[in-house]
């Protein structure tokens, strides 16, 4: 019974992805017909500059915005650490509001803000927007780690002659590193699959994968997108395998 339940869950989770993978090898352009096995969509994918550019933009955006948001979020957490409980709760609350806000509201607000400031829309505006909506997620994952932190180790390091930066990077940083990493990954993923905010803050000629795919809706999504999605899925899958297996090896040795 348990096994049936679990396999049902996996079926629901993976059936759509599996369909997509199968279609990426379909020689016929329509999903209604199986035209034989082919790799041609994979070849034409790597010849399609627009899709590759969108992929590059997406990855660059995700990496940059996650990195910057992590730095800002980390600094914010350090600052909150030395605040009084009440102010900390207040600041934390304010930081959390954007997360609860509907994405479309955030997106339109950004557009209006950028217009009123006279900023040119382009890669820069998307980046700013992504950094902003990423920060709360980073804070949310670093903050609990910070709370568990024993402040006396930091003070001990200072007493033993380390300056504050040394003490931070040698003592505090390793302790909260898991929180920082998960915050970074969370921000990376949030930025990767955002559509609505990107849509409202993007300028002409700059596309991410999500906006690119959406524009294809009228004429039908190109099979190249299936093969790209398959590749991304494979990459994530392999990454997950690596992440899950490395620590175990370490423990054994």
């Amino acid at each position: 019974m348990k096994k049936l339940y679990i396999s049902l869950i996996f079926l629901f989770l993976y059936a759509p992805i599996f369909t997509l993978i199968v279609l990426s090898f379909n020689a016929s352009k329509t999903r209604a017909k199986w035209g034989g096995f082919t790799l041609k969509w994979y070849f034409s994918l790597f010849e399609n500059e627009a899709i590759l550019q969108a992929l590059w933009n997406t990855l660059l955006l995700a990496a940059l915005s996650a990195l910057i948001a992590t730095v800002i979020g980390l600094v914010a957490c350090i600052a909150m650490q030395s605040m009084k409980k009440k102010t900390r709760a207040l600041i934390l609350g304010i930081a959390n509001i954007p997360m609860l806000n509907a994405e479309i509201v955030t997106g339109i607000s950004f557009m209006l803000l950028f217009i009123s400031l006279g900023v040119t829309f382009g890669f820069g505006t998307i980046l700013l927007a992504h950094i902003t909506f990423n920060i709360p997620y980073v804070i949310l994952s670093i903050q609990p780690r910070m709370k568990q932190l024993n402040t006396s180790t930091y003070e001990a390091a200072l007493d033993l002659g380390a300056n504050s930066l040394q003490a931070f990077f040698r003592i505090v940083f390793p302790d909260i590193l898991p929180g920082i990493l998960s915050g970074f990954l969370m921000a990376f993923t949030m930025s990767l699959d955002d559509f609505i905010i990107t849509h409202f803050t993007k300028g002409p000629g700059v596309d991410t994968l999500s906006t690119k795919i959406y524009t294809e809706v009228r004429k039908g999504i190109k099979p190249e997108m299936y093969s790209l999605s398959t590749l991304i899925f494979a990459a994530v899958f392999i990454l997950m395998l690596l992440v899950n297996h490395t620590p175990r090896k370490k423990e054994k040795s």
Partner: protein, 368 residues
């Protein structure tokens, strides 16, 4: 202690500022195309184009760049409704946009477009058929603002193996024989157009009694309909999942190629003819480049390349002459003679109240 804390704070602030500037710099540096898009400091070597997704042969953009030295900054939209607020808000200034008929009318009414200087676009009047300019009068009186780019009709696609009588009228969509085998479009104007035309009314009517009749007809039809869909009509019809589907003529040729049992007709009561046209917004950074771009797109060889890529009908008669495949050149689907179909209508912009009335009726149909 206190001093050191202070120092830590300072260095952190510095770190923060460093990160921010780095972010801004990399943001601007990595995308030169986004710079200088506002009106006053526009450079003359760029043209900003805003078009439907997958609505141009990418090769033609490269050819344009090579021939004129003007860089094309190309952007795409999904629907007219998504394009409009972006152009209206002026978030980004575009030189050339390609909306559909009723949206062009709305943009004209809201003073968002500039008049076109036809002398600067000699290829347009030379190559584009007169009947398309005539149809354009419906939304752009006097042909002042728009240059037709793609066009088509709305009709019935049917599977010859599943429908054995000749399809000539919209009324077949109400035939109980085909219960659960009918696909309808999920879009306000397209779906209401059908019962309006069937009853001999205008597809742009604001007469509430006529709309009431149309609404009731669609409610009566609902039990027979398999699904209300947007672009799944294509795949479902190719797969033989339905007998009859309402579809755009541009998709019909593609579906026929995939499944030869399919046939497309424009019902005798008339239908919608739609036109997507190039327009130049008021806040275009460079009208000169916009006109060069439009003129280039009207060249027969370029229009032919685009027709072959998009497969939607081209209004460019000179390009049509160049089509090698005789079957397509003379195809009744791709190039119907509009004089044979007297009741064809373009959609007009209905005004805000009209839009609201239509949306209200649309909601009532689906809440039943």
């Amino acid at each position: 202690m206190e001093e050191e804390k202070e120092e830590m704070k300072k260095s952190l602030v510095l770190l923060l500022c460093g990160a921010l500037t780095a972010g801004m710099l990399s943001g601007c540096g990595s995308d030169p195309a986004a710079g200088n898009n506002s009106g006053d400091n526009a450079k003359n070597d760029k043209v900003y184009v805003y078009n439907w997704g997958e609505y141009i042969e990418p090769e033609t953009l490269k050819m344009f760049e090579e021939e004129t030295g003007i860089t094309v900054v190309y952007d795409e939209f999904e629907t007219n409704e998504i394009m409009y607020p972006k152009v209206e808000a002026g978030a980004s200034a575009y030189d050339v946009v390609c909306p559909s008929d009723y949206m062009i009318e709305k943009m004209i009414q809201n003073d968002l477009l500039q008049e076109i200087d036809w002398d600067k676009i000699p290829n347009a009047k030379k190559n584009i058929g007169a009947q398309y300019f005539e149809q354009s009068e419906g939304f752009d009186p006097g042909n002042k603002y728009s240059v037709p780019y793609c066009w088509g009709t709305v009709g019935i696609l049917y599977n010859k193996t599943m429908v054995d009588e000749p399809v000539t009228s919209w009324s077949i969509l109400w035939d109980e024989k085909y219960a659960d085998n009918i696909l309808m479009q999920r879009s306000v104007r397209d779906i209401l157009m059908i019962p309006l035309k069937l009853n001999g009314y205008s597809a742009n009517t604001l007469n509430e009694e006529e709309l009431e009749v149309a609404k009731q007809a669609l409610i009566d039809q609902a039990p027979l309909v398999q699904a209300y869909v947007i672009d799944e009509v294509r795949d479902k019809m190719i797969g033989g999942e339905a007998a009859l589907g309402v579809i755009y003529s541009g998709e019909a040729i593609y579906t026929q190629r995939e499944n030869p049992d399919l046939e497309y007709v424009i019902p005798e009561e008339g239908s919608n003819v739609w036109i997507d046209s190039w327009v130049i917004p008021k806040n275009a950074p460079s009208k000169e480049n916009a006109e060069k771009f439009i003129d280039f797109m009207c060249r027969p060889d370029i229009a032919l390349m685009n027709f072959e890529y998009i497969t939607y009908s081209t209004p460019n008669e000179a390009a049509r002459e160049l089509i090698e495949d005789e079957e397509i050149r003379n195809s009744e689907i791709a190039f119907p003679d509009l004089s044979q179909h007297p009741n064809m209508e373009v959609f007009n912009y209905l005004g805000e109240e009209g839009d609201e009335l239509y949306n209200q009726i649309y909601k009532e149909i689906f809440s039943n």
